[in-house]
Symmetry: C2
Subunit: 413 residues, 2 copies
Amino acid sequence: MNPVETLALHARKASSALKSSPGAIRADALNRMAGKLLDCHDAVMAANAADLAAAPELSEAFRKRLAVTDKIFDYMLNRLREAAALPDPVGRILEGRTMPSGLKVRRVAVPIGVIAMIYEARPNVTTDAAAVALKSGNAVILKGGSESLRTNRVLAAAMREAAVEAGLPEDVVQLVDSSDHGAVTELLKLDKYIDLVIPRGGKGLIRAVAEGTRIPVLKHYDGICHLYIAADADPEMAADLVENSKCQRVEVCNALETLLVDGESAPRVLPGIAAALRKHRVELRGCPETLKLLPDVLPAKEEDWDTEYLAPILSIRIVHGIDEAIRHIAEHGSGHTDGIVTGSLQLADKFTAEVDSASVLVNASTRLSGGGDYGMGAVAGISTDRLHARGPVGPNELCTSKWVAVGNGNLRK
Amino acid sequence: MNPVETLALHARKASSALKSSPGAIRADALNRMAGKLLDCHDAVMAANAADLAAAPELSEAFRKRLAVTDKIFDYMLNRLREAAALPDPVGRILEGRTMPSGLKVRRVAVPIGVIAMIYEARPNVTTDAAAVALKSGNAVILKGGSESLRTNRVLAAAMREAAVEAGLPEDVVQLVDSSDHGAVTELLKLDKYIDLVIPRGGKGLIRAVAEGTRIPVLKHYDGICHLYIAADADPEMAADLVENSKCQRVEVCNALETLLVDGESAPRVLPGIAAALRKHRVELRGCPETLKLLPDVLPAKEEDWDTEYLAPILSIRIVHGIDEAIRHIAEHGSGHTDGIVTGSLQLADKFTAEVDSASVLVNASTRLSGGGDYGMGAVAGISTDRLHARGPVGPNELCTSKWVAVGNGNLRK
């Protein structure tokens, strides 16, 4: 048995104990994890400094993702404590009824089992994923990027200690302590022990995971997010929402990539939007009609409509009517997050009914699509898959269910 | 584009229309399907007689599954009408809240899209699958066994006509009109158009489907179902439940295969159970302890504990205490349906908490595990997978969800 297989077997065993653990024990473990991490603050920072020092050749953006600042450290602790405070997702009765036969049936949420997280730089995924998995009674196997291995070692060791102090097996959280890519290949073969894989990172990583395993995968590839500024939109609200959606953070999956402006509102709203974006030095690429209204914008190419920039670039297209907007999103969107800005109930209803994306927003920044702003706390990832979970993957989404039926000698007729 | 690809593309187009169709239209279509089938009664029966005549070499069991009797015909019509009468699964608000920011978030059930059913003999799967798929707003592609192709042609044509009369595209229901196995291989490649595959039939078929596609699959392989007769069980209820679980129908996935009897109750309950089963000529295979109490029982071999007989055979093992019963089920069960017979609340609670199967029953026949007896109506299949749906796959299970968030200019801080 190779080391990865041993680790997966241990996860399976820990999962058995965890499945029937009371929610109070799991919540206690999460709070202890936050406490233990606070005790280890200096060790975390030293390990992270060593990770950063070991990789001077990495891009500035990558180093930014890898760095644990005090703000990120606090965020990690808070996410563990928030998860502890959430209601227990395990044991929820999701539906139920008494049948005419007298059979009392109920569908009850139970843990999935063993979850493998495969991710790249950010060390906060280590604690977020452990928080969500443990909250929902699942054992978790963490395989982070090799660049963050020193940091992840300290984080995982602290969380394992805390688990034991709470009375849980230490193997409810395990780190694949290897910078070898072969370890991922090994993990992906272990459908005997692993029930779900969640990859987070670049498209290449996610594709390699999804195409390299028979284990179910929850994932998203792209976040080509749209805002449609309807004919009646308020220019000030439109400018604020576009600015926040595009600029609040450009390198994330729910940042705005394509702006659709209704032909009727374009002359009224586009100048304000362009002014707001120029303050942030956002490069604008427009369709021919956009260029007529904003002559200093670059012309958009066909591939712009299918591009997730993750950068201070925005493509702008003028559409004529909501149907054209919905068609554009169906054709070019990635089913992640799309929104409308309108005061019309009819347009809002049509848009939310017909746009088939994981998140559909009305008069809200695309940056609000996510676990925290939806009240789900920490999430293990975001799914644009249609099966099992769609949108943020929080503690509820890491549960499956079983049917419990109680009779009094009931027979099939 | 080959014929199967064309058909899948048509399904995707029909699915777009179906996704936003009101529930009343879908219910009307289902009722019209039942009516149209009734009009076609003679044609269905003639086609089925031709199917049966064309395959005289098939086993009696297979011919029984293939035959559309008047009873089965009525059943098919009733399942369509029952599905019509169920509440609309589409548009259910599954959860929701108003966040402190004022953002109103809700998670809404929406159709999955295009579902492919791959199955063997039974023509009622054709109507059941169409009923469940259409009820939940999904387009369905039906690929039945070649032996039932004539029957399925008449059924599918009638359902397509009814769909059109209700104002839906005819391609919401499509039959792969081919007895060529290559058609299945083609279907399984079309992850571009098909969102979910549900295979029903023998283990070989299901394995071939699950291992031959990147499309998500809902399935079960085995139904190695257990009843555990606890120390305190009432002998009469135990005998009735064992008889019904084993004998009501032997060839189905929720029939009993292994009986676990607590050592304390064995002397009291086993004679009555054995007498009830012998009336049905069930062959009994027991562990050594069972043989001491029932000397004329055959000795069970180790592989008996892992065998789904689908036949009048039952393996019997005496266990000592509920923990041994739960361990036996964890080791040898298939996670389909397992039950306990007890008057003890403590034992029932422990069993339902610790047995990790899709259905866990207390004092009820294993044959009651299923869509009808759980109040779900027709089902497309049964899943022992842990992701998306576990247990019977009814209209609710053929939905995914999307998040809708409504704000008033809400920004990310």
